[in-house]
C-alpha cells in the first residue's frame, strides 16, 4: 500500500486547520451559509435530511486494518456506531455534528486519510477493481496509476472548479470490475505485445442522461497518462457548459462536440502540454510502484481447506459465492458481503469493522478493499486460512454467501438520508433480500441495483434489473429497467413501462423472477443471458400482466 510522505501529511493537516477555522467562523456568524457551503463541501461535509453527512475518501478502495479501526473509532465517538460504504468505494458517516467535523478530519489525518475532493466540481476519488493486485485475470496492477492520478488531481489548481464533478475509474484486468465505461474517463491497462499502455474511454456516466463511454484513444503509452489526462480535463474545462448543471458533465460536451472533434482537440492540447511534463511524474510513479509490491505469500498445508470443502456445506457454498481466484495458486480473494438478508446494503457496524480489521491483520496481509458493489474484500488470503476466516465472519454475522445473487443489491441511501432523493431505496433492498432469501441459489446470478432518484448513485441503469425510485404525485413510485450490464458488455437498461407503487413492486418482481425461471434454457443460463437471448418483451409482459388483464 502507498504510505503518506511528509508532504502528504503536511498538506492534509494544513487543510484540516484551514477547515477548522472555517467552521469556527461559520459558528461565530462571520461566514454565511452561502459562503460556508462550498468550503464544507470541499471537505466532504454535506447537509442531508436528518443531519450532516461526512464522506471520507478511500483512495481506489484500499484500506489498512489500522485505517479500518480508525473508521470504527470515528463511528463510535462521533456518529452512531456504523458507517456506510458507497458505490464510489468511499465511506459515509450519516450523523456527525458540524462542530465535530474538524476533529473527525484530524482523526482521519492520524491514519493518513481525508475527505478532500469527495464533493464539489473537482476530480473525485479514483476507483478501481476491488481485486487489483490479486486477480488471476489481471494484466497490470492499476493501483500505482490510481495513486499517481490521486496525487496529480488533489488540489490541482486548474481543476478545482470544473463545470461539474469528474469521476475516473481504472482497471488492469481482463474483466472490468470497475465499471470504467460508466465514468467520465475510464482507463483500461493493456499489455500491447510487452508494452503497457491504456485504452481510454470518455463521456460515460449515469444520472439523468445515461451514456456508455466511447473509446477516445487506444495504445496510449503508459508514460503519457498524466499529460493526456490533463489534456482531456483542459478541453472539458474550457468547452464544458456552466450555464446548466444538467448539461455540464463531460458526456454532454463530448456528445455536443462529437467524439472525433473532441479527440482532435484533446490531441492538439496533449501535444502542447506534453513537453511540460519533464519526467518527474514518471519518477514519482516509479516510487509509487515500489509501494505496491505483492505481499510475501506464505505456503501452508491446504488439507484443512479441502477437508472443510468436503465436510461443511455452508463453507462450500460460501467459497462458491464469495471467494475469487487469485494470481497466486494457493491464495484467494474473499468478498465479505455487507448484504445480510434484511440488512442495509453497504453498512458495517463499528464492531464488524474492528473484527474485519483484526482478520485482515491476522490472516490477510493487512489489506482491505471496498468494492463498488458495497462489499468489503480481503484481497490476499491463503486458501488454508479460508475455513478460519469463514468461522470468524460467521460469528459476526458477515458470512452471507450471496455475492452476485439477487440479494447482493447495490442501493444508494435514498430518501432515508439523502436530501436529493425522491424515494427510498434501502427498505426496497431489504424487502427484496428477505423475500428471495430461500430462492436465491435457484435464481442464480442476478444483479439488482436501486437508486432513490434520477442521479443514479445506485447504478440502476447498469443493473440486470434496475429500480429507480421517483415521486409520482406525492407517492413513492418505482420504475424498472431491464438489460443493463456493468461488465465488459456495459449497457444501459431499458425502461419497461409505468412505475409501480410500493405495494405493487414485489408482486411485479415475483412475476419477473417466475418468468425468468420458466424461460431460461437451463440452470446455467443467468437472467442477463435470458434477457439478451429473448429480448425484454416476455419480461415486460410478465411485469404488466395485470395491466393487460384489465
Amino acid at each position: 500500500m502507498y504510505s503518506y510522505q511528509e508532504f502528504d501529511r503536511a498538506f492534509v493537516r494544513a487543510r484540516v486547520d484551514q477547515y477548522r477555522d472555517q467552521v469556527k467562523r461559520r459558528l461565530e456568524g462571520s461566514l454565511t451559509e452561502d459562503e460556508f457551503k462550498p468550503l464544507r463541501l470541499m471537505n466532504g461535509v454535506y447537509l442531508q435530511l436528518h443531519a450532516y453527512m461526512l464522506r471520507v475518501a478511500i483512495p481506489y478502495g484500499t484500506l489498512s486494518s489500522c485505517q479500518m479501526r480508525q473508521l470504527a473509532y470515528i463511528a463510535d465517538k462521533w456518529d452512531k456506531g456504523y458507517g456506510h460504504f458507497t458505490t464510489r468505494q468511499n465511506i459515509q458517516f450519516n450523523w456527525p455534528r458540524l462542530v465535530d467535523t474538524p476533529d473527525i478530519l484530524d482523526a482521519l489525518a492520524d491514519v493518513d486519510m481525508h475527505a478532500i475532493q469527495t464533493s464539489g466540481n473537482t476530480i473525485r476519488n479514483v476507483t478501481t477493481d476491488q481485486f487489483a493486485g490479486a486477480a488471476l485475470d489481471e494484466v497490470v496492477d492499476p493501483r500505482p496509476y490510481a495513486e499517481l492520478i490521486r496525487q496529480w488531481s488533489t488540489d490541482h489548481p486548474e481543476f478545482q472548479f470544473l463545470p461539474r464533478k469528474f469521476k475516473i475509474a481504472i482497471t488492469g484486468a481482463a474483466e472490468d470490475r470497475a465499471v470504467i465505461r460508466a465514468h467520465d474517463i475510464g482507463l483500461q491497462l493493456v499489455d500491447y505485445e510487452g508494452r503497457i499502455g491504456f485504452k481510454v474511454f470518455v463521456g460515460g456516466g449515469l444520472g439523468r442522461t445515461p451514456i456508455i463511454g466511447q473509446e477516445l484513444v487506444d495504445r496510449l503509452p503508459a508514460e503519457d497518462l498524466l499529460p493526456y489526462l490533463e489534456a482531456v480535463l483542459s478541453v472539458y474545462n474550457l468547452a464544458g457548459r456552466r450555464d446548466n448543471k444538467y448539461k455540464a458533465r463531460i458526456k454532454i460536451t463530448v456528445g455536443a462536440m462529437g467524439i472525433d472533434k473532441f479527440r482532435a482537440r484533446v490531441g492538439e492540447t496533449f501535444q502542447r502540454l506534453r513537453g511540460a511534463f519533464n519526467g518527474q511524474d514518471l519518477a514519482v510513479l516509479g516510487d509509487i510502484q515500489k509501494s505496491f509490491a505483492p505481499p510475501h505469500y506464505v505456503e501452508k498445508s491446504q488439507e484443512s481447506y479441502f477437508d472443510a470443502l468436503d465436510d461443511d456445506i455452508g463453507f462450500r457454498k460460501w467459497v462458491e459465492r464469495n471467494v475469487s481466484p487469485h494470481k497466486h495458486p494457493t491464495y484467494a480473494s474473499v468478498t465479505i458481503s455487507l448484504k445480510g438478508h434484511g440488512d442495509t446494503p453497504g453498512d458495517a457496524s463499528s464492531d464488524q469493522m474492528r473484527a474485519i480489521a483484526d482478520l485482515s491483520e491476522r490472516l490477510a496481509h493487512d489489506e482491505l478493499r471496498v468494492s463498488h458493489e458495497q462489499n468489503i474484500v480481503l484481497p490476499h488470503v491463503a486458501q488454508a486460512d479460508l475455513p478460519a476466516i469463514f468461522r470468524a465472519l460467521k460469528s459476526i454475522g458477515l458470512a452471507t454467501a450471496n455475492v452476485g445473487l439477487i440479494s447482493d443489491i447495490i442501493a444508494c441511501p435514498g430518501m432515508d438520508y439523502c436530501a436529493l432523493a425522491t424515494a427510498r431505496s434501502i427498505p426496497i433492498a431489504q424487502d427484496i433480500a428477505l423475500r428471495y432469501a430461500s430462492r436465491e441459489a435457484e435464481i442464480g446470478h442476478m444483479q439488482i441495483k436501486i437508486s432513490g432518484c434520477i442521479n443514479a448513485c445506485g447504478h440502476h441503469h447498469l443493473g440486470h434489473v434496475g429500480i429507480l425510485g421517483l415521486d409520482k404525485a406525492g407517492v413513492e413510485n418505482y420504475q424498472i429497467t431491464l438489460g443493463g450490464s456493468a461488465g465488459n458488455d456495459a449497457a444501459i437498461g431499458q425502461k419497461m413501462g409505468r412505475g409501480f407503487n410500493v405495494d405493487e413492486l414485489m408482486p411485479a418482481l415475483d412475476r419477473l423472477v417466475d418468468a425468468y425461471l420458466a424461460l431460461r434454457l437451463h440452470e446455467g443460463e443467468i437472467f442477463a443471458e435470458t434477457v439478451k437471448r429473448l429480448g425484454t418483451v416476455s419480461f415486460q409482459e410478465a411485469l404488466y400482466v395485470i395491466d393487460q388483464a384489465a
Binding site: 454565511t32 447537509l47 435530511l49 436528518h50 450532516y52 455534528r97 432515508d416 438520508y417 434501502i426 427498505p427
Partner: protein
C-alpha cells in the same frame, strides 16, 4: 412546480447538529413538529420565511405543507421521513420518542 398550499410550517436544519427543526409559536426553533407554528395564509408564511433569510442558527429554511388535523402531520412523505427519521434504524427523531416512552 406546483405552488405550495397552506397550511404550512417553516422547517430547517439546525446549524450545529443538522437536526430537523420547526419554527414554533415563540419564534424559536423546536425539534418537535407538534410545537410548530402553523400558517394558514401562505403569504404570511412566505413573509416570515423571507425575514429569516439571514437566520444564524439554522440552515436552509423552507415551507412544508401539513395537514389540517391536530396534531399536524406532514402532507408529503419526504417531510414525514424528516419528521420521523430513517426507516432502517431508529436513529432519528424516533429514537428520542422511544427514549421518552421508555422513561
Amino acid at each position: 412546480m406546483a405552488r405550495i398550499k397552506a397550511p404550512v410550517v417553516i422547517t430547517a436544519n439546525d446549524l450545529l447538529t443538522g437536526e430537523v427543526v420547526y419554527l414554533d409559536l415563540a419564534h424559536r426553533w423546536s425539534p418537535e413538529l407538534s410545537a410548530a407554528k402553523v400558517f394558514d395564509v401562505i403569504d404570511v408564511a412566505e413573509g416570515e420565511l423571507a425575514a429569516m433569510f439571514s437566520e444564524a442558527d439554522v440552515v436552509g429554511a423552507y415551507l412544508a405543507e401539513v395537514s389540517t388535523e391536530s396534531p399536524v402531520i406532514p402532507r408529503h412523505y419526504r417531510e414525514s421521513f424528516r419528521h420521523k427519521g430513517p426507516s432502517n434504524y431508529f436513529h432519528g427523531k424516533q429514537a428520542a420518542k422511544d427514549a421518552e416512552v421508555a422513561a
